[in-house]
Each structure stands twice: as C-alpha cells, then as structure tokens.
C-alpha cells in the first residue's frame, strides 16, 4: 500500500483536482439542500461534464457531489423541517427542534462535524479494506462472478421496493434492456428492430437521465403549488456548542460511522437505512432518550455521521467487484470505465496510483466539505427557497443538454424521453427503479460471466455449484432473501395488527 501512497499523493494534490473537488462539494451541497432534488439526480446531470476529464479530476468532482450531498440534505431538514434528500429524514427529527429552539447554526454545525467525521472514517475504511477485498475478488472465476452479480441484484431487488417479486421483475427488465445492441460474445445484433443506432446499445447515462431525472420533473404533477420560504433570521444564533455537548456527540458519532460503513458495504442498502439504524441505536444507548425527537444533539450526530459514513463504504464493492453499493455510485462506475478503469484486483495493481489517489481524495473531499460548510452554509441555506417555477425548466434543460452531449446526438434525447415515460408508468405500478439501474449496470457483466461459465462446462449448469465460493454466495443469497422476507412479513403483520389503545 505504501508504495502507492506517495505517487498517488503526487497525482492527487494538483490545482485542477482541488478546484474540481471544491466545485463538486459546492454543487452537491446546493443541490441536496433543495427539497426534491436528490444526489443521484445531481450526479446524473453533471456526469457528462466528466467525459472530457481524466479519471482523477472526474472522480473527485463526482465524489465531491456525492459526499457534500450527504451534508446538504440536512440543511433544509434543520431549517424548514423538509429533508433535502431522503437520508436526511432522521436528522430532521432532532435538527429542526434544535433550530426552533433558536440554535439553527449549532444544529448545522453538529450535522457538519458529524458528517465530516463519518465521511473520513468511511474513506479510511475504503483505503484499508478495499485492497483486501480486491485480493479476495481476484480468486473468483467466471461462475463465482456470475453468483456475485446475482447476489447484488437479489439484495437490491429485495430491499428497494415494497415487494421483492416486483423488485426481481424490475431487475429482469433492466438486465433485458442491457441486452439491446451487439451480443458481447458474437457481435450479432439483438433487439435493435432495424434501428442502426441501437447496435451500439443504450448509453447508461442517457437511460438514467430518463429513469431518475426527467421522471422527477413529471412527478411535479403530484405536487401542490406553493413555494418554500425560509426565514433567514433563524441563522442569527452564535452557533456555540458546549463541551458537554461535544462529549455527548462523540459516542453516537463513532457508532454511527461504524454502522454507516457496515451498512454501506452491503449492496443495495444505503444512507437512509444507515441513518435510521444509527438513530435508533443512539436512542437506545443514550442516557437521555427522552430528548430524542425534541432537539437531541446525539440524534443529529448519529444520523449525520451514519449517512456520510456510507459514502466510502459503497465504493468498496464497486471498486473491487464491480457491484455498486447504491444507485449513485453505479453512475460513477461509468465515469471510471470511460477512462478504462475496470473494477477488480487489476485496478489496485496496474492502476494502483490512480486508485489510491481516488481513495485518498475522498478524505480530501470531506476536509473541503468541512471548510465550505463552515464558510458557505448561509448560502446553502438560501437556496432552499429557490422557487420550483425556475428550478423545474432549468433541470429539464440540463437533462436534455446532458443527454445530447453524451454522443452529440438527438437520438439519445429521444431515448431519455422514452425512459422517462417508462419510469412514470413503472412508478404508477409501484415498481422500484433502482433494480432496473442495477440491471443496466451489471447486465453485460452478468451475461458474459453466465455464458462463459456455461461454455467452460459445455453447457452444464452444474458449474454454478462447483466451488466453495459458489456455495458461499448461494448461502449468502438464501440468507439475504430469508432476512428480507422475514422483515417484510414482520412489517405486514405490524400493519395488520389493530392499533394499541392509549
């Protein structure tokens, strides 16, 4: 590891990288602060900007957005009781009561410090665990790689919607869409319907613009008119945090960071799950559980440290196995692949300097997030009140410009529109979009490994149960499915049970 650190530092500490980190952090925090705009939407919109960049500045820019998005979501949660991003919902429970008690700046400061700690903790976990997992991943052959893909898809299908079966159907749809274009092994065209442009397949970024960004615009139809107003006078407290409060923050912050890392490593789970889990753990372990929900500093620290600790951990399965930990990092995979960086052990050996520069960069991203948060939080707070009338068409224009610029072709804009309509219909049927995204990302890898394994075994499916690793992954899949189903049955029973009388 040490042999890579010094050259990686040389690659990382350039003016260009530091500039892109800061631009990313600023954009991420601003976007996440606006309710309704998610981090995934922001990464999709700005992905085309990275196409002309090399790997390190491109990834630094996207990681800046990703990490700062974790903190930005808490700004509106604390100020106006509306989480900017879904994972800031747990922060809202105690952040807003603190703000109402006249301690807005203090609440924002606690969220910032906890987020930074969680982010750096997670980056260190990535730095130390990443290469070890990659070594393990190098021992996997084609059938095992196929099982890894199935494992990732199963978990994501299971946890991202209300129904696991609907999740599996969505994942199948995503995998089928990834089959459009030339066959990866024979180069025959598939499902092109005579459209020559489809021979190259569908670009991931273009599909995502439709699936996640444009559909959010269509969902404005569900919102009632009205603007969000914020009283900036709320920011006039001195933001002081007492020694006693710092002491009380320490334990939930460390525990939240640990929970965030553990949850983040599991594909399909994300910042929302981590922050709620950490919040409930902090409450159960606190000496003052009665303060939770009424402005507890421990509650804010636990939720914020956990949701930012997910950021580095989600990169572990992405960089080592090619399995994205969540939807946002799935998009980052295309930024890596455009620069010829394919996940796996080879990434840590042949491209070790670049890889370590990216992992070290994550620490730098969190430091700049802390600095920007300390200086620019009043600006982040002001954007909360940008009216929807202005924001909506601007996002559409960004989406169209982004879709066009991928291949400099209006055909891609049309594809994005088709995916937007598809996503809207699927939303009406309560079908989760994240398994489709994972299907699109993992499609080629899953199919290639599936077919190669069958070729090796001359068509015999026994190859998928031929090694210890295969059995381990089968065991993990069964365990994951069992746990998910048990959780869902429990939820259903809890809903069906008659409410307790007060």
């Amino acid at each position: 590891m040490l042999q890579h650190i010094i050259p990686a530092s040389g690659l990382l500490f350039t003016l260009q990288n530091i500039l892109w980190i800061n631009i990313g952090v600023f954009i991420g925090a601003v976007f996440a602060a606006i309710p309704g705009l998610t981090v995934i939407l922001c990464v999709i919109l700005f992905l085309p900007v990275t196409y002309s960049m090399s790997a390190i500045p491109g990834m630094m820019f996207l990681l800046g957005i990703y990490c700062a998005g974790g903190y930005g979501g808490s700004v509106s949660a604390i100020l106006i009781n509306t989480p900017g991003t879904p994972h800031a919902a747990a922060t809202m429970l105690d952040g807003h009561p603190l703000s109402k008690a006249g301690r807005t700046k203090a609440a924002l400061k606690i969220a910032l410090y906890a987020s930074t700690f969680g982010g750096i903790f997670s980056a260190l976990a990535l730095l130390f665990l990443g290469p070890q997992v990659a070594k393990l991943a190098a021992q996997l052959g084609t059938p095992e790689c196929f099982m890894v893909c199935v494992f990732g898809l199963t978990i994501i299908a299971g946890v991202s919607g209300k129904s696991m079966v609907r999740g599996i159907i969505a994942a199948c749809l995503g995998l089928l869409i990834s089959c459009i274009g030339s066959d990866p092994m024979t180069s025959y065209d598939r499902f092109t319907f005579g459209v020559n442009r489809l021979y190259l397949g569908l670009d991931l970024a273009v599909c995502l613009i439709g699936l996640f960004a444009l559909v959010e615009i269509v969902s404005r139809a569900e919102q009632k008119p009205g603007e969000l107003h914020m009283d900036t006078k709320k920011m006039h407290d001195n933001g002081a945090i007492t020694k006693e409060e710092y002491k009380r923050m320490a334990r939930p912050t460390i525990m939240g960071s640990l929970i965030g890392v553990l949850v983040g490593i599991i594909p399909g789970t994300g910042a929302s799950e981590a922050s709620w889990f950490s919040y409930s753990q902090a409450k159960s372990m606190s000496k003052h559980p009665e303060e939770f929900g009424h402005g507890s500093v421990e509650g804010v620290a636990a939720a914020e440290s956990a949701n930012n600790a997910v950021t580095g951990a989600t990169l572990i399965p992405l960089l080592t196995l090619g399995i994205p930990g969540d939807g946002t990092v799935a998009i980052m995979l295309s930024a890596l692949m455009i620069n010829g960086l394919n996940p796996g052990l080879s990434l840590f050996t042949t491209q070790g300097d670049i890889m370590y520069a990216i992992m070290l960069g994550l620490i730098l991203v969190n430091i700049f997030m802390l600095l920007q948060g300390k200086i620019l939080t009043p600006i982040f707070a002001k954007v909360v009140s940008i009216p929807q009338e202005i924001l909506t068409p601007i996002i559409v224009i960004f989406c169209f410009a982004g879709a066009y610029s991928v291949n400099k072709n209006y055909f891609d804009v049309c594809v994005a529109l088709v995916f937007c309509v598809l996503a809207w219909i699927l939303r009406k049927l309560d079908m989760p979009p994240v398994p489709i995204l994972l299907g699109l990302v993992l499609g080629k890898m899953t199919e290639t490994n599936f077919r190669r394994a069958l070729l090796i075994s001359n068509g015999s499916p026994k190859i998928f149960v031929s090694s210890v690793y295969c059995w381990i992954f089968i065991g993990l899949i069964v365990l994951a499915v069992g746990t998910i189903l048990r959780g869902k049955i429990k939820d259903r029973k809890a809903k069906a049970a008659p409410p307790k009388e007060e």
């Binding site: 404005r220 139809a221 909506t392 066009y404 804009v413 049927l429």
Partner: protein, 164 residues
C-alpha cells in the same frame, strides 16, 4: 381559458381509478415476457455452432419474469378466493392529466430542438412553457429563467464545445 382549465381541474380532482397493483404487474409483465419470447427468433440471430447462444440469457430472464408474474397472479387469485383485501394503487386523473401536459412539454422541446437543430430554441420554449404551466405571473421569473436557459446553452456550446 384559465376558468375552463380550473373547471376541468375541479371535475377531475375527485376522479380516481383504483388498480390492484400485484395483479396488474403480474398480467402486464407476463404478457410483456411472452411478447419478448415471441420476438426473440426475429430479433436475436444465432449460429447453430454456438454452445450457449445470444438467446440463452434473455430467455432465462424472461422465464424468470414469467415465473415471478405467475406467482404474483396466483397469490392475488388466492386472496380473491379467500376474500382477503388486495393491495390497490390509486390513480388520480387530475395528476395524470398534469403529468401528460409535462410530458407534452418535454416532447415539444425535443421536437423543437431536433427540427431547428438549435438547442437554444427548445430551451427557451421549455422555460416559458413551464412558467406558464406553473401559472407564474412574476415577470422577473420569466427574465431569470429564460436568461438561465440561454446561459446553459451558451455554457455547453462555448465552454464544453457541444455543438447544438
């Protein structure tokens, strides 16, 4: 015009359609999988020499999809027979009409960009159309949004060298 739209809105406001989600998903995607299977021979060329050809993976997916759909449909039929409540999704017609208007704005923006081959034309239309959709009466918002639309086009055109 505004009055007519308000009247139409009021009429549609309370109109809702309830669809049994799992049953609908089961039927729709089962039919989808069947159509894909029927299209497969014409859409995926294979060689007889291939041990595992290009149809193997999509076929596997469609069989899995059909199995899941069949499971959903059977589960819902059992629920109906046992007179247990089904899971419904409520679709509000007013929301769907608004969604259709937004989709129409997006399509017209795309058509304008494509026909004129000038992205800025579509961008300005999009800005104005959404402001009208939101019934915005503030002239300043029009100036800001149109200005930003032109600004984004200029940034992509001159800074990122995207020729459109």
């Amino acid at each position: 015009m505004k009055g007519k739209m308000d009247k139409l809105g009021e009429k549609l406001k309370g109109k809702e359609i309830r669809i049994p989600v799992d049953l609908t998903v089961g039927v729709v995607f089962f039919l989808f999988a069947v159509v894909v299977m029927l299209l497969m021979p014409s859409q995926v060329a294979v060689s007889e020499r291939d041990v595992v050809n290009g149809r193997a993976f999509p076929e596997l997916l469609m069989w899995l999809m059909m199995a899941c759909c069949a499971g959903l449909v059977i589960k819902e039929i059992v629920k109906i027979v046992r007179k247990q409540p089904l899971e419904y999704k409520t679709i509000n017609l007013l929301v769907e009409l608004k969604a259709l208007i937004i989709i129409a704005i997006l399509i017209i923006t795309y058509v304008l960009c494509r026909v004129t081959d000038l992205f800025v034309v579509g961008a300005v239309f999009c800005a104005l159309a959404f402001l009208i959709y939101f019934r915005c009466k503030k002239p300043l918002y029009y100036v800001i949004t149109v200005g930003l639309a032109v600004g984004i086009w200029a940034a992509f055109r001159f800074l990122l060298n995207v020729r459109f």
